[in-house]
Subunit: 530 residues, 2 copies
Amino acid sequence: MTFRLCYLLAASIFILLIPGLSEGGKLLVVPMDGSHWLSMKQLVLKLMDRGHEVVVLIPEVSWQMGKGQSYTVKTYPVDYTLEDLDNSFAEYLSVHLNSQPFPMNALALYNVSKRTFGVFLSQCNNIFRSTEIMQYLNQSDFDALLTDPIALCGATLANYLSLPFIFFMRGFPCSLHYDAPQCPSPLSYVPRLFTFNSDNMTFFQRVENALIALLELVYCNGFYEEGLKFSSQILQRDVSLLDLLNGASIWLLRYDFVFEYVRPVMPNMVFIGGINCAQGKPLPKEFEAIVNASGEHGIVVFSLGSMVSDIPMKKAREIADALGSVPQTVLWRYTGKVPSNLPQNVKLVKWLPQNDLLAHPKTRAFITHGGSHGVYEGICNAVPMVLMPLFGDQMDNAKRVESRGAGLTLNILEMTSEDMSNALKTVINDKKYKENIKRLSELHLDRPIHPLDLAVHWVEFVMRHKGAPHLRPAAHDLNWIQYHSLDVIAFLLAVVLLSLFISFKCCMFCCRRCCFKKGRTSKPAKSKSH
Amino acid sequence: MTFRLCYLLAASIFILLIPGLSEGGKLLVVPMDGSHWLSMKQLVLKLMDRGHEVVVLIPEVSWQMGKGQSYTVKTYPVDYTLEDLDNSFAEYLSVHLNSQPFPMNALALYNVSKRTFGVFLSQCNNIFRSTEIMQYLNQSDFDALLTDPIALCGATLANYLSLPFIFFMRGFPCSLHYDAPQCPSPLSYVPRLFTFNSDNMTFFQRVENALIALLELVYCNGFYEEGLKFSSQILQRDVSLLDLLNGASIWLLRYDFVFEYVRPVMPNMVFIGGINCAQGKPLPKEFEAIVNASGEHGIVVFSLGSMVSDIPMKKAREIADALGSVPQTVLWRYTGKVPSNLPQNVKLVKWLPQNDLLAHPKTRAFITHGGSHGVYEGICNAVPMVLMPLFGDQMDNAKRVESRGAGLTLNILEMTSEDMSNALKTVINDKKYKENIKRLSELHLDRPIHPLDLAVHWVEFVMRHKGAPHLRPAAHDLNWIQYHSLDVIAFLLAVVLLSLFISFKCCMFCCRRCCFKKGRTSKPAKSKSH
């Protein structure tokens, strides 16, 4: 603890001194709505603090963006309402909460994801349709563009404006965030997203991993089809997914190998997992009172993330039952109808200071949907987790925490009240979980520089040097056959086969000569007999 | 300049604050003699400053080690003299300076390298033979072992003492520093050491690269044969090169991608290229006087490294001729017989403050053998280079600098006086070289943390956490076939072929049934005719 405090003090002084160095660049930010924005906002605020002119391009209608605008905001008109946006997400979520057999579930997921992607694509369309915005962007002399590229819009805009660009993200589907920067992903120990495998796979899991990788070739092209059509139209050339993405100067990835499986990486990937973990602040009075009243048993923090604060009543009742079975006070972020069986020890709140609560020494467990922000806050504050993944990368995150022995995963669709109660009691009472998460936390926090400062450094690096071309691998100039040396293998094989063939022919020729000689010398009688 | 100064100030304060955090561990250091020791010594001194107990294990007879012992030294007796050591290096160097046709040169190099390696192996043998040393090591409770592993001794000792270990190095032959941590090295754009290719290879260079990689399978096993026999004997089990090396917790590699070709890396590789670049200090009076007297033309710094200060007289005369052709004052580190044609503008010195001279604004060029320390000092101080590589990785280093347009390479065996004169004039007068090295320098120095502090962090990390098992890829648990998914490919191929075969058989069966039916219905007459 002393170590961490001293470290933070030293780091703060180091960072306080740095602002004097920055000469003030001009950065365009194209963010992604929803929870994606939460950690990017911290980076934007820090860059503002350091004297840069940061312009955030946001739609007039959004969930998380636009609030608390201490940064410069440029809004563009959109052709949908907040209700449309909410309905789109509600539809997306409902598909995840509906239990359907395979392959119906996969197909439904694919279709709803494509429709949700369509909403973000329409945002992008709105930017390029707005003459005022485009005129502003063309006339502003930006040094670089920072974007969460999941919806491709930032990458399209950066290519259009010929700006060096930085990606800030958790990950693409289909491992595009590894394929685009030409990073090898050996299928034998690097599990593909959504397989829920660990890095230690059985033979059949490895077969599954290979099949999923093959399937992804179709999946992502289909998924991004409309987006690519749009980008091609804007950039007036045919662009593939990799064309559009491989120009990123730096990939700021919200990953840390304490939590992620170890794998090859590239020098222009910067790992900033845990960037959202702030130091715990004192709790607001009403929360402080609840925590203090919890006695020796302490509290449990329960949140399904910034996007989900309501669930079907049947599920809510089951969960309420389970929460009543533990002696801890449970703080549950929930905005739905109050379940009639809500136990005494459960306090429903519309919002909670998640990181500050997790940092409180009385917190015994964290019930989470497994979103990456929450999981990193759980790790930073060393709180064992019960994970109920809903969508996106959450199942993979949950499996990673479980594989490290720092939490237990439940299937929210199939779990019973008893399952949840057991899981919660286990992570609280079995010391192994607390020990494991404490070890992960210590490893995660023992780093030479805070992820936020690292992200700031690399954004400024790209602004100062107009990109980072020295970190671009020469692999980008090779085609698939050349990259995998298939032409070299074919050539060497041809040389070997030709050599063998010539040697064989020579041997045959020599043998024939010998036989012929023998024939001439040893069997003259026979010749004569004809 | 202001930027760099502010940055260094901030970094220094950050680092000054950190010592208070360290709780003082106990580190065993097994270094490598020669220039290898120069930058490791800086790390050792810094770790000492931070309150750790650092024990450096060195032979009684050595070139560079043992001097200025502010660190704790433990010496062990050896069965050779300093003269033996010098003769061994002289023999090693002479093979490089003798022009022989291929494959005689390659064979001679292989043999002399193996003999030189034998000297370092005998050092290792001496450690394990010394009862006193082994007793001391067994009884001391070290937290970790830091070693330059090129001669395998440190890795053997760490395995023997079951200590977590950190490698500090420039690189192994045969890319072992990538193979051992399971880092992919695509042959299509990652040039093997000693091929002198860049990352942008023609088809035939790629063929050459593949053939060299094949050859290395034989080369390194032969080269390290005796060393592995020794390690197997000590560890009482059969160890392969990869077995011995893959346990390293962290690989501190003296690489920077400003200078190196971009390629995949692994999370436990930490890049500390330029760790040896200190901020330029004021020059000693005698050097200050020479530099000041050089007038508007400035000076040229000429050194063939810490190990080579003498060359054959014929070569020395040629070089002296070339140096006389430029108006700059040349400071040449040279201890041999003074060439009779030594021009007025050349000052011979037995030692020179290389980094401080390179940092002087009057320095116009750096003539170097291309050792990695010198090259990084050239980059840090933005001085264009003329490179005359002698041995080891120097030719590769030289080619890298040349490929970045920051210097010119000469073949010391074949160059004429005119070649050298032309090269020197070109790098001084063609502004392109100064611009390129300035750009490299700016990119290299723009980093979030100084390489020395980064190295300190990771050594302390391993000491604090008894290793870094969370950075060990699961690939270590796979065999070659599994790693490359050959079993999965074979299985999937078998399934596809079997499916095709069954489908084909079914089709055939159906066809036959159809034909048979047709036969029975349409040709009854013929049947009857029999």
